[in-house]
């Protein structure tokens, strides 16, 4: 399978899950560190342009809690995620719950917990990080994935390109 850099792949393995896969030119230990050291997480997990991450607390061990919060530079509005680590296998796998807190950005109610499984696999100095999010229901997935998306969809044939690639390489 060809390794693609700088292009995250998104797929829908079931009607309640989303899978995001991305490869990085770095050893697994380092990629794992950037996901589990709060001061490093704060440097990349920033969301849309114009948002910062003033709160990033993580107690990475089974039963430990984490709290992430983002703030808009423009109007100071905030939202966040929090949850508990369920499984911690250093450098290879993390499982944590994830509750969305709409904070002051919208009137949405907090959603049910999603379950997030992150795996780190290294091959020849390249680490592939796969994030599988189980939203618990089709409706919850739809709501979560639509958040922040603009109305009106542009015509695009990229999925078709991907399908063609898939068939060619099969």
């Amino acid at each position: 399978m060809p390794v693609t850099f700088e292009k995250a792949q998104v797929s829908l393995p079931s009607d309640r899950e989303v899978r995001v896969t991305r490869s990085f030119r770095a050893p697994r230990a380092l990629v794992y560190k950037t996901y589990t050291d709060p001061s490093l997480v704060q440097r990349w997990l920033l969301g849309p342009p114009g948002w910062s991450m003033p709160v990033c607390e993580m107690d990475v061990r089974v039963g430990g809690r984490y709290r992430w919060r983002w703030r808009s530079d423009k109007d100071g509005k905030e939202f966040g995620f929090s949850g508990t680590f369920r499984e911690v296998v250093p450098q290879s796998k993390l499982v944590h719950s994830e509750a969305y807190d709409p904070g002051t950005v919208s009137d949405d109610f907090p959603t049910n917990d999603a379950l997030v499984t992150v795996t780190f696999i290294e091959d020849a100095g390249v680490t592939t990080m796969t994030t599988l999010i189980d939203f618990g229901s089709k409706e919850a997935r739809e709501a979560a994935m639509s958040t922040g998306m603009t109305d009106g969809m542009e015509q695009s044939y990229q999925l078709l390109d991907r399908l063609l690639d898939e068939t060619r390489s099969a």
Binding site: E6, A8, L12, D15, F24, L30, W44, L46, A170
Partner: protein, 126 residues
């Protein structure tokens, strides 16, 4: 919005099967009859017809004018909508991943630099 959501559901359901994706990929090259579509799959025509029905219901394919051949044709619109929806979600992640790329590069550069310093110190003391 609900209509769009329903349509996306049926599109993604139709795309969840490798045979159906292969059929779409074949149709992207041009229209084809059921017999032609069945050929590469080692599958009976009724089995292929079942897959074609799912694709048809999702609006991903239509049946052409020729009454005898009844060729299937790819319809781009639902696929484009599904793709655009996923693409926006993907881009949101990609923003973060690009920052992570730079951070990882920076960390690797500085760890290489400190290894060099250690080697130089060892040489001098040895």
């Amino acid at each position: 919005m609900n209509n769009t959501a329903d349509r996306l559901d049926s599109t993604f359901l139709a795309l969840a099967d490798p045979t159906r994706r292969a059929i779409l990929a074949r149709l992207a090259l041009g229209e084809a009859s059921v017999t032609e579509l069945a050929e590469p799959f080692e599958m009976s025509q009724p089995a292929i017809s079942k897959h074609l029905k799912v694709l048809e219901r999702a609006g991903l394919i239509t049946v052409g004018q020729d009454a005898q051949r009844r060729p299937r044709r790819l319809e781009g619109r639902p696929l484009a909508e599904a793709s655009a929806w996923l693409e926006q979600y993907r881009e949101a992640w990609e923003e973060n991943f690009k920052r992570l790329d730079s951070l990882l590069q920076e960390m690797q550069r500085s760890s290489r630099a400190s290894r060099r310093v250690v080697r130089r110190k060892k040489k001098r003391s040895g």
